[in-house]
Structures are given as C-alpha cells and as structure tokens.
Amino acid sequence: MTLFHFGNCLSLAYFPYFIAYKCSGLSEYNAFWRCVQAGATYLFVQLCKVSEPFGPHKDVSNEFMKATVDLADLLGLHLVMSRNAGKGEYKIMVAAMGWATAELIMSRCIPLWVGARGIEFDWKYIQMSFDSNISLVHYIAMAAVVWMFTRYDLPKSFRLPVTILLGLCVYKGFLMELFVHVFLLGSWMALLVKAVLTGAISLCSLFLFVTLVHSN
C-alpha cells in the first residue's frame, strides 16, 4: 500500500493549491501561463541564491546570513508582480500561486516520490505535505506585503507595520529553527507553531491589505 501512501501525501500537498487556484477566480483570467512564469522566476532566484558562498559552520550567525539572502525572494516576487498588469489581488494571487507551486514541485515532489513509496513508513511525509499547505498561505501573505510595500500611496502610518511584517516573512524560517532549537520541539509541535505563526502573519497582512484597499 505504499503507492497509496504516496498518493495520500501528494493529494494532501497538492489539492489545496488546486482549490485555491479554482476558487480565487484565477482560472477566469487565464492565469495559468503567468503562474508558470512566476514559477520560472522562482527557479532563477533559487539558482542565484545557491551561488552565494558561505562558511561551512552551522551556527547562528550563518543561519542569519542565509535568511538574509532570502530577501532575494522578495525581489523575485516584486519582479513577477510588476510584470503583471491588473488589480492588486490578481497580481498577488498569480505571483504567490506560481511561486508556491514551483517550491512544491522542486522541494517536495522528489522526497515524496523517493521516500513515501518505500516500505518504511515515516510520519515526516505527511508533515511535509502539511508544510506545503502552510507555505502556500505564507507566500500569499508575503506577496501581499511586498505589494503593499511598493505602493506609492502607502500611508505613513502603515510603513512601520508593513516593514515589520516583511521582516517576519523573510526571517520566519530562521525564527522557526530558533524555536525548535531552544524549546526542543517535536516535529508535530514545530508544525503547529509554524502554522500558528503563518496564520498570524497572514491575518495581519490581510487586515492591512483590506484597510489599504478600502481606505481611499
């Protein structure tokens, strides 16, 4: 039944993306190729990130530096969104969907294919699939924050919260590792914390977005 397990994990990982694509109305705008373009930009950005050399020691400062490089993610998202004409929501959704799908395929498909099909059972594959769901929400929130950051008509009072949210988005991975290391969380607890954190970030960014869009 191991192929079944692989099927379980894949559906858990991929179906939410499908649901999001269908239900957000993107399919009406024929946004499929635009999403693929966004995905290609993701690949390009990852390649650039890989070419940055870092020291071999795995300590806090190195991790911090690595997370700082994730700023390139933001640049990539901005690039995608600037090339797409249309309403703010459309831009955000296209960029986030493409980006998250590319990440899903690149970083999760292979481990699932190789690992979940085997005889040995491990909970980590289900966890990986859940993680991809959380990533989707995370990228939507990140794209929204980037969009807000680059608006010329962003009110002064919003500058600070948006910047903080931006920072949180980028360093979320780093924060997660810190939590796990300090509190010695189990894998399921870490997943829960990650979900809560992403939920909080996305709620805040949604709040700010609604305020911005409907304030003028």
């Binding site: 559906s11 239900c23 289900i126």
Partner: protein, 557 residues
C-alpha cells in the same frame, strides 16, 4: 536589454524545465528505502552428508514480524529470544507454517544462566535433525533489535483479544515491522575444497623406524556456522598439537635427544562432517601411493579431541590394546604419569566398538581403525554424543587454560616415556621431563586458543585460501619438515558432503503500517480537504468582516 534577456531565459526555462524534471524522476526511480534497523543474521546450518539432508533449506524472507505468543504465525517471521526459546515453541512455529524463525542471542553469552545454555546445547542437534524449508536465523541482540522485539511483542499479544474500536485505534498507533533479507536463495557450493595439513619430524637412526601419528581436526561445528567458534572442541586439540610439535621439534634438534621414532602431525579438516579430511588422507596414503609413513610401521595414532577443561581424561579405543604393543605402552604411561604427577586427574580407558551401521563415526580414531591402524582418541568427554562437541555455546570461556596446559604436559610426558623407553630403563614415574626450558608454555597455548576462537571455524567457511589454514601452515612450518597440504573435494557423482551458501545475511527491519491505516489516513485527508474547500469558498465572509471592522475607523477620520 534586460527585458529581452529575461524573456529568452523564461522561454528556455518554460520548455526545458518539465523535460528535465521528467528525466530526473525517471533516473531517480530505483527505490532505496532506509530501514529502521539493519543487522547481520547468521543462518542455520544447511548441508548434506552422505546423501542425508540436514538443516534449514531456505534463505530468503520478506515477512512481517511476530513473537511466539501471537495467535497467527503462518507466513510471519517469528522472533524468539534465547531465554524464551524451547523446542515446543519451535515446533509450534513450524507447524503453523511460519515464514521464518529468528532467534535472538544475547550479545554477551556469559550472562545467560547455565541451565539455559545447557538446554540449548542439547536442542541444537534436534534443530538440525528436523529438516525444514523455513529459514532459521540467529541474530545478536543490540538495543535497537531489543526495542523492535518488545514493540512486536506488545502488538502480537494484544491481537485477537480486543474490540473492533480498540483494534482500529491500535492500528493507527502501532508499528509493525517487515523483515527482509537482502541475499539470494541458497544453493549448493560447487567444488569446495577441505584442506588438511601434515608435517613430520624424522626420527634418528636409519630406515624403517616406527611412526607415531598425532591428529587433531581444526574445524568447529554448531547450529549456525558463523557462530561456531569451537573453543574446546576442537580448538584445544589444535593448540595441544601445535605445542607438542614445538616441544618435540626442540627435543629432536639435539642429537642426544633425537628419538628413534618418526613423528607425523596431521591437522585434519572436515572433522565434524564425519572426518572427511582424515578419510581421504588415509585413502591417498594407503591406496594411491607406493610408500608412505602410514604404510610401513605405525606404532599408534593418537587423536586429540576436546581437552580444554575438566579433571577427567578418557582414552577411547575401539578394541583394547594387546599386551606388549606400543598402544599398550602408551596406555600404561598415561596411567603412570596421571597417577604420579597429577593425582587430581582421573584417567580411564573407554572401550567402544566401531559401529559401521551408524550414520556417522563416533571418534576420529575409528577412521584409522577401519584401515587397521592402531588408534585411540584422548578426550575429557566420555561420550561422542556429548552436546559440547557440536554447540555454538562452546566459546573461549569454555577452555580452562591451567587444565589445558596440564593435559598438554601429561600427553607430552607419556609420549616421551614411550619414545625414549623410560619405564624399561627404570626411570621412576615422578621424573618430569618437560620442565624449565622445555616446559609447556602456557602463554603460547593461551595465544593459540585466543586466536582460534576469535573467528568462526566452520568447515563451510574455511576454503584453501582462508587465513586460518594459512596461519596453521605457517605454524607447522616453524617446527616441522615436509609440511604439505591435502585437499578433499566431494565426488561429483556421489558426493559425500554438500555445503550450501548464504550463511550470513543482512536483515533489514522496516517500520510498516497495516493497510487499513492508509485507508484511514485517506479518509482523514479527504475530510480535511473538504473543510479547506468550504473555508476557501467562504473566504469572502472573512474579507467582508475585516472590511466592516476597518471601515468605521476610516469614516471617523
């Protein structure tokens, strides 16, 4: 310009990306799962002797693990610990057509209580006698294996005794284990050569001297070949033989002590398989060559078998020696030396007629007896059926070094008294020859026994290039002349012995969940996706709510 470049790049990526992904997936296809635990297992003996098959016939297994108390054992791998092992449980597993049996032995055998060791030693021949197609493996216990065993035991014993709901919950949390071996099916090894080694010390004083032959078989036997260390049987015999070779070669190097006897030392292989090495050596020497030391004038043949312990010493003969023969002289000298020099030693002669109707011969001297050479075996065991001769429990602690060196001394003294005719010359029984520079070196014996018991010496594992055979040859070369190898290969058409391979395997234990768990998980995932779909559909509600929350604030401006 930047725009154009990015367009080109994007187009490239658009098309090459899916292709490379597909290619990568195809390449990565062969599955290599990591196991929960990987450990070495040693298979039970499998061999044919004189047409009769013994042992377990099968090597591969890919079955789920259970312990003995589980109700359903068929096509499962039954795991038993040595402490819980009994013949009835084994029979029960076989009757229910189990897929395999794995017996877990403690890492340190000395922690096992004596009665369990004794019980297992007696069971070993019975295990081998029941020929079975079920693969039987032995594994050494370590922490992970023990945890696998306890988990399997918990899940095995709870089956069939709880309600459906409990069973359902149990499957979600339980860890089953799938045991898989990586090797192929066992098959007969063709053209296996059993090696025996001989060397000699020529006596002084012309031709036609009488010959004394000293024999010890160097292989070991147990229920699992890779675990047969054979410390006492017959590591002790080999150690004594090499020490005697050293002592007598020393005596022979001085003209004054060069005796008028030829000494022929023989380390035979395949001893535990009905003395194949000795049998063929005798045929070659007596039937196929014109002149050999064995043909002319053999005083007697002394076989050494299991002399590493206990205060008993038995001389096994197939017919009592006649008065005046060299055999009788040795018997008398052994009695004298034992009585005068080692009063704690109890020496006796055991008479057992050769029974040719038996499947296998009892002692090694019977091979010589069949060819009408005067022979006897010296051993501290009183019966050839004693379980210590065929047990994997026979390890280094079974050899007591002081008793071993005492036995060496007794044999050396008795031999010297016969060879130099000391009793007739009136030398008293108290005189010890092997003292000071000529004394039996206990540390030499210790290092020999340690080396011999450091690795398994089953006949199936020692081919002619093995390091043990080479080292033994080297040892003999240091003290003896004319050291020669003698090979025995089974006859092609009617083989006396057939060995099988795949005796050592790597077994993988994979954590598995039962099939119903996957179904359960699918149901859970489907319900989660359903909830998610509803949430996304109604996302507009959240959006509207937030809008209403933020709108009044704007109006207040």
């Amino acid at each position: 310009m930047f725009e154009e470049a990015s367009e080109v790049l994007e187009n490239m990526l658009k098309w090459s990306f899916p292709l490379s992904l597909v290619l990568f997936l195809v390449l990565v296809c062969p599955l290599r799962a990591e196991a929960a635990h990987e450990f070495s297992v040693y298979r039970m003996q499998q061999y044919d002797l004189q047409g009769q098959t013994y042992g377990s016939r099968n090597a591969i297994l890919n079955t789920e693990a259970r312990t003995v108390d589980a109700e359903v054992l068929s096509r499962r791998c039954v795991m038993v610990r040595l402490i819980d092992f009994s013949y009835e449980k084994y029979q029960k597993a076989l009757r229910q057509s189990a897929g395999a049996v794995v017996i877990i032995l403690p890492q340190n055998m000395s922690t096992v209580p004596q009665d369990i060791v004794q019980q297992f030693m007696e069971l070993e021949p019975e295990l081998l006698a029941t020929e079975t197609i079920v693969p039987v493996y032995f594994a050494l216990e370590d922490e992970e294996l023990l945890s696998i065993y306890t988990q399997t035991q918990i899940s095995s014993s709870s089956q069939g005794s709880s309600s459906a709901a409990e069973v359902l919950l149990h499957t979600a949390t339980a860890n089953g284990f799938q045991m898989v071996t990586s090797g192929a099916q066992s098959k007969a090894v063709s053209d296996w050569a059993i090696t025996s080694l001989e060397g000699r010390l020529t006596g002084a004083g012309g031709e036609d001297l009488p010959t004394i032959v000293l024999v010890a078989h160097y292989d070991s036997f147990g229920v699992a070949p890779w675990l047969s260390y054979g410390a006492d049987s017959n590591g002790s015999g080999v150690a004594i033989l090499l020490e005697l070779a050293r002592l007598f070669s020393r005596l022979y190097s001085y003209k004054r002590t060069h005796a008028g006897y030829n000494l022929l030392f023989f380390l035979s292989g395949g001893g535990k398989f009905n003395y194949q090495g000795t049998k063929r050596w005798l045929e070659d020497n007596l039937d196929h060559t014109d002149s050999s030391l064995l043909q002319d004038n053999v005083a007697f043949v002394l076989c050494l078998d299991t002399l590493g312990n206990s205060d008993n010493l038995h001389l096994h003969v197939s017919k009592p020696p006649k008065e005046g023969s060299p055999q009788h002289a040795l018997l008398k000298e052994l009695e004298t030396v034992a009585a005068h020099q080692h009063p704690d030693l109890k020496f006796s002669m055991v008479h057992k007629k050769i029974n040719l109707a038996d499947d296998t011969l009892a002692w090694e001297h019977e091979r010589f007896g069949i060819r009408r050479l005067p022979a006897f075996t010296l051993s501290h065991l009183d019966s050839h059926r004693s379980p210590e001769r065929h047990s994997i429990m026979d390890m280094r602690p079974h050899v007591d070094l002081t008793k071993l060196s005492r036995n060496t001394k007794v044999i050396a003294e008795a031999l010297a008294r016969v060879m130099y005719n000391l009793t007739e010359k009136g030398v008293s029984g108290d005189l010890q020859i092997f003292t000071e520079q000529m004394q039996v070196q206990e540390d030499q014996l210790a290092s020999l026994v340690d080396w011999l018991t450091a690795q398994p010496r089953a006949a199936q594992l020692l081919d002619k290039d093995s390091s043990i055979v080479n080292t033994l040859e080297y040892h003999l070369n240091r003290y003896l002349k004319d050291v020669r190898r003698h090979l025995v290969r089974a006859d092609k058409r009617d083989p006396e012995f057939v060995f099988y391979d795949q005796l050592k395997q790597t077994m993988n234990a994979y954590r598995v969940k039962p099939a119903i768990f996957d179904l359960l998980l699918a149901v859970c995932i489907a319900s989660y996706l359903g909830v998610l779909y509803l949430a996304v559909q109604n996302f507009g509600l959240l959006y509207g709510f937030l809008r209403r929350v933020t709108a009044p604030r704007v109006k207040q401006h």
